[in-house]
């Protein structure tokens, strides 16, 4: 009996020892290439060109020491191929370490590629276990993804991709994560959109990334861009407009005054009412926002109630104009339901939605939408009237 027990225990120990010598699957840190960002562009012959920006852990300390060669702490590889798996193999063949996508912060679609349709690589995002939903998606405007990923470091971040990711996390510009993007693509009642990245050249060798517009997609193709001012009204519609700044012309231009006023949004809300009339939904939207005044270059003395109301009504008017213009863009020009009015119809009128969801793309551009904007100024800062206002 004792013999049996001892033999048994030795066997168990042996099994454990064999297993502890190392798994089939472990890859050392030094053998991994950490991809911080991927970019996808269209080549002239219609192939997909993928670019990876890979962080160099050792490169970070070299760059910080400064001195001699200004080596960038990242490396960029590019290659083209037919579709995702094809390209991935090509790229892996160029690097001495295993490509690891788990830390990828940003995916950039080049404008030409996005307009063509991004389906080749779309499925890999969902299926591959390494892919993270917290990755942000951006569309490049006026520049290819490859150029963006090759641009050296911005002001405070060593690795540009990390800088991009942080900018998106701050959230002032439209930041769409992979899961939101995929969800909109998979949804009948919503169209996807992403933030837009552009490159400004301040000086010859110093380039800065600018985020701020929105890229509107229909299914998996890019159909257009929304300018920044209209994008802000979309934020208000989504109830996400905190920290956005709005400006309006509250008074005509006069001697010494431009007549503009700038406010910052504290809270925003939208109320959407949908009625079905003659087989088509009719939508009534009310945008509400509570704002504080940041800057006043007009003769309005905001300590007086009447003047405050005057400013508010001017804001309502002008924001409403931009709102209507935005709606026209997304509804009539792009025909893309980026807000998700389809989803709203689904929730409020499920029976109608069940019957009509296949026709939603045709119905959506025809829907009459009436709007109302209600902005309340709840704070005017430390001063009452501008310093250059004569009493």
């Amino acid at each position: 009996m004792m013999r049996m027990q001892t033999i048994y225990r030795c066997l168990v120990l042996l099994v454990f020892i064999i297993c502890l010598t190392g798994c089939w699957d472990s890859i050392e840190m030094e053998d991994r290439a950490f991809v911080m960002a991927s970019g996808f562009d269209l080549t002239e012959d219609g192939q997909v060109e993928a670019t990876l920006q890979i962080a160099l852990p050792t490169g970070l300390s070299i760059a910080m020491q400064g001195g001699g060669a200004t080596k960038e702490p990242f490396v960029v590889v590019t290659d083209k191929g037919r579709e995702g798996t094809d390209i991935l193999q090509h790229l892996q063949e160029m690097i001495s370490r295993r490509v690891f996508l788990g830390h990828r912060g940003v995916i950039i679609f080049g404008e030409a590629y996005a307009r063509e349709g991004i389906d080749e690589i779309l499925d890999t995002f969902l299926r591959s276990p390494e892919s993270r939903y917290t990755t942000f998606i951006l569309t490049a405007k006026g520049v290819t993804a490859k150029e963006i990923l090759n641009t050296p470091h911005q002001f405070l971040e060593e690795i540009p991709a990390l800088g991009l990711k942080k900018k998106q996390q701050i959230g002032i510009s439209l930041a769409v994560k992979l899961n939101e993007f995929l969800d909109a693509i998979a949804s009948d009642g919503k169209s996807p959109m992403t933030g837009v990245i552009q490159v400004l050249e301040k000086k010859a060798d110093q380039k800065i990334f600018k985020l701020g517009e929105a890229a509107v997609y229909q299914d998996n193709k890019l159909v257009g861009f929304l300018p920044e001012e209209e994008m802000k009204t979309l934020f208000m519609l989504r109830g996400e407009a905190e920290n956005q700044n709005l400006t309006a012309q509250v008074k005509p231009i006069e001697e010494g005054f431009k007549g503009t006023m700038g406010v910052r949004v504290l809270r925003s809300k939208s109320t959407i009412d949908i009625q079905i009339k003659d087989e088509i939904p009719e939508i009534m939207i009310t945008l509400e926002a509570r704002v504080v005044v940041l800057e006043n270059d007009s003769k309005l003395d905001l300590s007086k109630e009447k003047k405050l109301k005057e400013a508010e009504s001017k804001f309502n008017e002008q924001v409403d104009q931009r709102f209507v213009s935005m709606l026209e863009h997304i509804q009539k020009e792009f025909k893309a339901d980026v807000f998700g009015f389809g989803n709203e119809v689904h929730i409020k009128h499920p029976e109608y939605w069940k019957m009509n969801k296949d026709k939603w793309k045709k119905i959506y551009p025809k829907i009459p939408i009436s709007t109302r904007v209600d902005i309340t100024i709840i704070g005017i800062g430390r001063a009452q009237a501008p310093p250059h206002l004569e009493k």
Binding site: V12, C23, D25, P129, Y133, T134, Q169, D183, A186, N343
Partner: protein
Amino acid sequence: MKISGIQIFWMIAAMELGMTLLMTMTSSLQAAKQDAWISMIIAGGIALFIAFVATQLAVLYPNQTLVQFTETILGKWIGKFVIVIYMVQWYTIIPIILRQFTDLIELLLLPSTPRAPIVILMVLLVVYVTYAGGIDGIGRCSEVLGPIIIVMVLLVLFFSLNNITFKQILPVYRDHGIMPIFNGALAPASYLGHAVEFVMLAAFMDNPSKGSRYVYWGVLIANVLVVLSTAMVVLTIGINLLPTMWYPFFEMTRQISIFAFIENLDAIAIVIWISSVFIKLAIYMFITCYGTAQFLKIKNWRMLIWFVAPFVTILAIIPRNVTQSTTHYLLNYWVPVVLPINMIGIPLLLLIISKIQKRRKRANLN
């Protein structure tokens, strides 16, 4: 070997929670979409009924397991036939769970590792606890792992709160009507109905009549957490992407991001999964060995481990892909056969027959 009521509670809660969460959500979501959480409530109701029948039955024959009292109720040959039906269930569920476990590990953690070592390692672990600990060893393991599982599930749910879009669970009910919701309840009911194994475990309790309370609580706690998790999964991921995902709970865990700092919490879900699988496999391994021993009138049930373990290991490696092991088994055997027959039908039948027999005996004595 004696087990206490609390151990019963933890055993049932632990084995039901992890498996139901990770395995059955997909079929409910495909059937009932955003109303899947209602399906889960219905599933809980069905499972509580199963628990009721099982505890009532077990109480009538304290100190006897299902194998023993079935022969008493139905006679030798019919009784043996009924036991064989249960044996089919036990002998096949172990390899299937092993296979599902291995598939998940392979997908998420160790893609190039061959399947056999993963299966063998888990089997060795289960064999060890069954051999050295018996059912009370397993009970004690559940007392330790059970609270860990529950805490981990609650953590995941709590951290996912800021990923919620409330609208995604709307419209409630109006999209579907009762039939799809009920269809979605069947698969989770069949997993929560594992409480029926109480008919094998009750014999080891000091006071089986008190045991029913613990069984109900085990099923209830597991069910509440599953309902919450299903609702959370719909609220965070949304029904557009969900039906195509194999492991929704896991995907929700991957999306957790607090202050952009606490991220990539896959490890928590893995812990829940492995602990729950371990407890379930251990319980079933014990039941299979002990039950087969009683059936064949073998004294030393531990000897059967040397037969059952290799058998299930080999069976676990055979199916060729994940569709075979998960979907086919679930849809073609477990839900249509095991749920109505093994979990509901036979226990109910046994209960009714034995109540009639007891009444007749009393009448005869009078």
